[in-house]
Symmetry: C2
């Protein structure tokens, strides 16, 4: 990977240390250019005419996304963000009283909120897989739960929003496949950061967002739907005129492809930019991006670990480009001020976004750093020095 | 209303006759400017930092929208399009077997598709109000249906996607209020075209889209939620970390405002542009826009009515800026070619988008013209002449 080129492609990474790709990343200039170009044309002739004219460019969105996660174009739906895709996937399942969803302590807060809402509405069970002291999932416990509950759905966040964990989703996927259970993978922090191969992960649904490690525009995302799910006629409960045709007063016909999970209307200019962002990642190659990401994170973790009083809140054996930490009793305000003054872009993880994990750790907040492949080793050293000096 | 100024604000309306505002309209240059300005800043510092900095400008979105439809800012949620808002409203209702939705023959196809999906999933009834020969709703029949079925929901499309009808939704709203029934108004073709006052219409939910008569960016919309609905704790089934806070393992707390119907992520740059579009309409004044729209449509309807062989597919006593027609046996391809050659921007209404209405009329398609307040009387005459010459 040519880091010089990467940084030239993102001129705005140079006057700061941008470490919030897990929130919303910096967008390559080629993506911004594409959005602007499309908007200018839209202004000229209106949104409908332009969409017609650019049909083949929109087709490219599906091809590039399929290439990214190793599936076919017909398995991809454009959605407005990962949660939007997640909701559409959930809504395709007809939950009844006493149905069970198996999930983890570390799944995304919004997913947990959905499960609670489903508990209230449909009286389902929500069961969480046991976690070892080191943060890893207890796969034997998962197998026991599967036998005990025959769950209707297993939902896992591939890379949780804090604590660095990469979940062992391959093991989960294998067990789901063997037991014919729907496996929904929330990959909003993994796609674009590491290699994600749906064939290997054996998920039935996968949700991803544009703005994070994929470096696309805000308000974009995609949903992967497996052939099995498509063949079994799953569709979002509130399918619309995009995914289905109204054929008789009480009848509609669905599309064969994952587009049945889309809505008629989409933010076309951003979809075009999102395509460009995915193409950009594909051109560099996800294996190169992952290798580079591992390199800079190894450095950052080694640096911070060696600073007295710095506590890394890492979970699990395999860690990601999300790092949460605190330094002794330094209050949030002080650490924020110093990072701001040093032009470090970071985010603050609050308890409400990882309730169970934060309760285990007995903390209310942590500073989150999430470097990406436009960052440099020098930046890792510089930010570590800044933190050491606090 | 100063038509010269309006046309200057939309330079791209001058080299064509743009008559597809019911599809996706032409966007005022000030809206495009706002989107670009925001995107440039986002490119510089990333999406999260910018959203923080612009908080007060986002607040303006809610104020301008409230002003537009005569409610309070806390009644407004940003959504990605009208259907997105419609789905969120529908999903807030816990439909059980034998519950009834009352709707009309002329409701939007996607809404009918949702109802069919709900029939399949929850075994609800879908009942349609009788329509008189002239296309108007039979309000007495509606009252009878209300007594007979005690519906859980009444859903009406204010201005259907074809056939020019403006539904008598005030009468519907009064009866819903009297009987304490939830009234969901799909206003995606009326908001921005005519004065819409939720206090007068007495709806509980109202859905609107950005790209049509409001002249905003694609991928934007809003949902109005009444105080009654908010107080009764309705929330979208799949509420997320925006609308609720995860407080205990099996508990969340909802926002008091309609923002509980939003998702965490939104296309911020487009939301900013949408705000600008709504402000633009508010500054002109919806009563002036409506009066001008009525004037040009009166001319267009009079012109086309006087052409032999032209059939206007108008329904109802009060007609809108949506006009669908055919001319004798002229095939679609021919009429399309001639309109294209004369730089008339129009759309084709297909049966699948208005199945019941098109079946009544025995047609498969119609040409749809939807002028808006940047069009001129001269353009109405010119397009009529073009159609006469076919």
């Amino acid at each position: 990977m040519n880091i010089e080129q990467t940084r030239q492609d993102t001129p705005n990474c140079k006057d700061k240390i941008f470490l919030n790709s897990a929130g919303a990343s910096l967008i390559p200039k080629i993506v911004v250019h594409k959005v602007n170009e499309y908007l200018i044309e839209e202004e000229k002739i209106g949104g409908y005419k332009l969409e017609e004219l650019r049909k083949s460019e929109f087709d490219e969105f599906y091809n590039e996304t399929a290439k990214l996660i190793h599936c076919e174009a017909h398995n991809i739906a454009f959605v407005n963000n990962a949660t939007d895709g997640y909701i559409k996937a959930l809504s395709s399942i007809d939950f009844k009283k006493d149905d069970t969803i198996i999930t983890t302590d570390d799944d995304y807060a919004s997913n947990h909120i959905h499960f609670i809402a489903l508990q209230k509405r449909h009286q389902i069970n929500v069961v969480r897989i046991k976690t070892f002291e080191n943060g890893e999932l207890d796969i034997e416990d998962f197998e026991t739960l599967v036998k005990m509950y025959h769950p209707k759905l297993v939902s896992i966040s591939h890379i949780p929003t804090n604590s660095g964990l990469i979940q062992n989703v391959e093991a989960i996927g294998n067990i789901c496949e063997k037991n014919n259970i729907i496996f929904l993978l929330d990959a909003c922090q993994s796609v674009g950061q590491i290699v994600v191969d749906v064939k290997r992960l054996k998920c039935d649904f996968l949700t991803a967002t544009g703005r994070k490690f994929l470096r696309g525009p805000r308000g974009t995302g995609f949903l992967y739907v497996s052939d099995k799910i498509l063949k079994e006629q799953y569709a979002p409960l509130y399918i619309d005129g995009r995914g289905a045709t109204w054929t008789e007063i009480y009848k509609f016909e669905m599309l064969d492809s994952a587009k049945r999970f889309e809505l008629w209307e989409s933010p076309c200019a951003f979809k075009m930019g999102f395509k460009e962002a995915i193409k950009y990642a594909n051109n560099i190659g996800m294996e190169h991006i992952q290798a580079y990401n591992e390199k800079i994170m190894k450095q950052l973790r080694a640096n911070l670990s060696s600073i007295p009083n710095v506590v890394l809140f890492d979970n699990g054996l395999n860690t990601s480009n999300i790092l949460t930490f605190r330094k002794g009793n330094v209050p949030l305000k002080r650490i924020s001020n110093i990072l701001d003054k040093n032009k470090v872009y970071y985010s603050v993880s609050n308890k409400e976004w990882g309730l169970i994990d934060f309760n285990k750790k007995g903390i209310e907040w942590a500073i989150r750093l999430s470097p990406h492949y436009f960052n440099t080793i020098e930046e890792m050293d510089k930010v570590s020095q800044t933190i050491e000096n606090i």
